[in-house]
């Protein structure tokens, strides 16, 4: 097998911070991806580059998996799908939604690869009920970098499976993934919007809404005092044909024609400031009318996907996303402390999302655990990094942790404090000879 072609290109994650010149291979043949003969060079697979920080590129060879995105087997009776790791979730949604199947778990963008969904063990708005993506993965084929290809699942190489689910690509190159889609009766979501004037109310609404399939809150981080934690909570259920407008009931899977907008240039770095974001947040809060309506899956699950290259609004220096989870018992106090600090500094976070998570996943480095997760965007600058260091202390004291798929700047001690199963993860990597062989900029930074 000939070696895949290589080229050196500057790579970043979705946050466009940090940036690194990387040697890249883009194999079209799974055998080439499996071997990637570079005996002395560490490897890391890259999907569609939608993790925010530095997980998707490395100090050695970065293997671009997007040419390996074929759908290999589908069982119409059970919804079981086997595809190559480079398959995009957007394509899976486009192919299977009209046939009445939907991903069991979907993150906030559909421009992710299935391999990336496993490596980050992504969660969605249904985590409190459905768990994370890997809870629905039946098996995966993994190339260990020496030509060996192993199948792993809960029954076969179970230790490797637990390390791979949420393992950020550090346990080998995912080649194929088998998971189960869920049946749906339309391509629409029955959405219900509820306003919460403060954090305590928002949490009460989440706790009493645990039977809802999907739930998420947009939170105004600049609101303070009595308004601290002011939120708009959006519930969702897959709509049945009878929920739809009578004119649409005969074609429950019809999709609106795609209309994409694009951010054509980098915004000046001053475009997002405390004033503009505060204004946006206040207008948004008032525009979200409480009540029920039926919406297409795209605006419900992927609102930002409608704006291509939206990451450019933070300007050319990029941005960082900060996503933490706090255990249930410390959530109220911890979230109050985090939001107070953010509102005090007044750093403009354009996107702020609060969500109740269900149970801890089986993956050694999986992010979710029972509690509340808060996700925030900040422009990459020194003030942000100073603020995030202070937030780190609040998160660690509350017994929480940060999401590796979002992270670009945490340091090793915080990882060790937040991920007690790191030692198990490292033991599996040693057992299969993967330590040192698979490395990313993230794993170097976090001393994994």
């Amino acid at each position: 097998m000939s070696e895949p072609d290589r080229t050196r290109v500057p790579l970043t994650g979705w946050g466009r911070y940090p940036r690194r010149d990387c040697e890249v291979a883009a194999p079209t043949d799974p055998a080439a991806a499996a071997v990637a003969r570079a005996p002395a060079r560490p490897l890391i697979a890259r999907g569609n580059g939608r993790s925010y920080g530095d997980a998707s590129f490395g100090p050695g060879l970065t293997v671009d998996m997007r040419r390996l995105g074929r759908l290999i087997a589908f069982d119409e009776a059970t919804g079981e799908l086997t595809c190559e790791a480079g398959a995009l979730l957007s394509e899976i949604v486009a192919v299977f939604t009209p046939r009445g199947w939907f991903p069991p778990v979907t993150p906030g963008t559909k421009f992710v690869t299935v391999g990336g969904m496993v490596a980050s063990d992504v969660h969605g708005k249904n985590h409190h009920g459905a768990g994370s993506f890997c809870d629905h993965v039946l098996s995966a084929r993994l190339a260990l970098g020496d030509g060996t290809i192993l199948t792993c699942s809960r029954a076969e190489n179970a230790d490797l499976f637990a390390a791979t689910c949420g393992g950020m690509g550090l346990t080998g190159t995912l080649l194929t993934v088998t998971f189960r889609l869920i049946p749906v009766r339309s391509s629409k979501i029955l959405q219900e919007t509820v306003r919460a004037p403060d954090l305590a109310t928002a949490i009460d609404i989440f706790e009493s809404g645990s039977a809802r399939t999907y739930s998420v809150a947009w939170i105004d981080c600049l609101a303070s005092g009595a308004h601290l934690g002011r939120s708009v909570i959006i519930f969702g259920e897959h709509a049945a044909p009878q929920d739809l407008d009578p004119s649409e009931q005969a074609t429950p899977f019809a999709r609106p024609s795609p209309r994409g907008k694009r951010v054509p240039v980098d915004f000046p770095t001053v475009a997002l400031n405390r004033l503009s974001v505060s204004l946006f947040n206040q207008v948004y809060y008032r525009l979200q009318k409480p009540g029920r309506k039926v919406v297409d899956i795209d605006p419900y699950f992927y609102p930002l996907d409608a704006i291509q290259d939206w990451n450019r609004i933070y300007g050319r220096h990029g941005f960082v996303q900060y996503q933490c989870v706090l255990p249930l018992e410390t959530s109220r106090d911890g979230l109050t402390a985090l939001l107070t600090e953010i509102a005090r500094v007044g750093q403009a976070s354009f996107l702020a999302v609060l969500k109740r998570l269900g149970h801890e996943s089986f993956g050694h480095l999986s992010f979710p655990r029972a509690g509340y997760t808060l996700a925030l965007d900040f422009p990459a600058n020194p003030e942000t990094f100073a603020l995030l260091d202070r937030l780190d202390r609040i998160v660690t004291e509350a017994g929480g942790r940060l999401y590796l798929a979002k992270d670009a700047r945490m340091r090793a001690p915080m990882l060790r404090a937040g991920y007690p199963r790191l030692e198990q993860f490292n033991a599996v990597r040693r057992r299969y000879g993967l330590d040192g062989r698979f490395r990313s900029a993230l794993s170097d930074r976090l001393e994994i």
Partner: protein, 244 residues
């Protein structure tokens, strides 16, 4: 025309895969032809799952001189034949090693042209069909940096023009495709200007439209028609002094 069946000659390439997907999306049955056809099982599964179409694979080598046998062996003559085979090669290597030069010429001109002659005779007899040849802007004018490849593509472009003329009265159309830069495995590692570089899916879309609308010669990104018009208009006494 709305094609019901398409044969992709050179189906393992990025452009071949994109063309197969685009035709399958319209519901056409697809035959993938490539070397090591038995290794195309995953590609066939992908087309069947995504588009619920009939998809088959056949063994094919553009330079084996066995075009008559190849077409006789097909269960049916398809509505559309797309020749995707090409080999960029390396100009310096071609100048130093004549076997390398010969391989580039065979893969871009003599091999594909012979296969299309065999297809054309059968389509002419039937009185319908469409032949698509992927040529190149490199064939629009010979340049020092790639003239072995470019001259073979120039020959292929002239071949397609003549074939179009020959088949016109028989109800068979011929499309010449000049993709310009395309982000494929063939060009991986080259620094290509984004505005001039098409994705394989764009090439697939452009070819599908050209076939259904009966176009003759297409540049995938229209800017290339302008660029090549300028390049062709430079007088030879000037052109020979340029480093292009």
């Amino acid at each position: 025309m709305t094609p019901k069946s398409v044969l992709i000659l050179g189906a393992r390439s990025d452009i071949g895969r994109a063309v197969a997907r685009r035709f399958a999306q319209s519901g056409a049955s697809v035959t993938l032809a490539a070397r090591r056809a038995d290794a195309l099982a995953d590609d066939l599964a992908d087309l069947r799952i995504r588009f619920k179409v009939v998809a088959e694979a056949v063994e094919f080598d553009a330079t084996d001189g066995a075009a008559e046998r190849f077409f006789d062996g097909l269960p049916a003559l398809p509505d559309v034949v797309v020749m995707v085979v090409g080999l960029l090669g390396d100009q310096a290597q071609s100048e130093a090693d004549l076997d390398a030069a010969n391989a580039v010429m065979a893969a871009n001109y003599t091999g594909p042209a012979c296969y299309l002659l065999a297809a054309a005779r059968r389509m002419g007899t039937r009185g319908s069909g469409c032949i698509v040849g992927i040529s190149s802007v490199a064939g629009d004018r010979g340049r020092q940096s790639n003239f072995v490849y470019g001259s073979a593509k120039a020959g292929f472009t002239a071949f397609l023009a003549g074939l179009r003329n020959r088949l016109f009265k028989k109800g068979v159309t011929v499309v010449t495709v000049k993709p310009g830069f395309v982000a494929t495995a063939m060009t991986a590692g080259m620094k290509l200007p984004p505005a001039l570089t098409a994705q394989p899916s764009e090439v697939g879309d452009a070819i599908f439209t050209a076939v259904t609308k009966g176009r003759d010669v297409i540049y995938v990104r229209p800017i290339w028609r302008l660029i090549m018009t300028v390049i062709r208009s430079v007088p030879e006494t000037v052109f020979k002094r340029l480093s292009m």
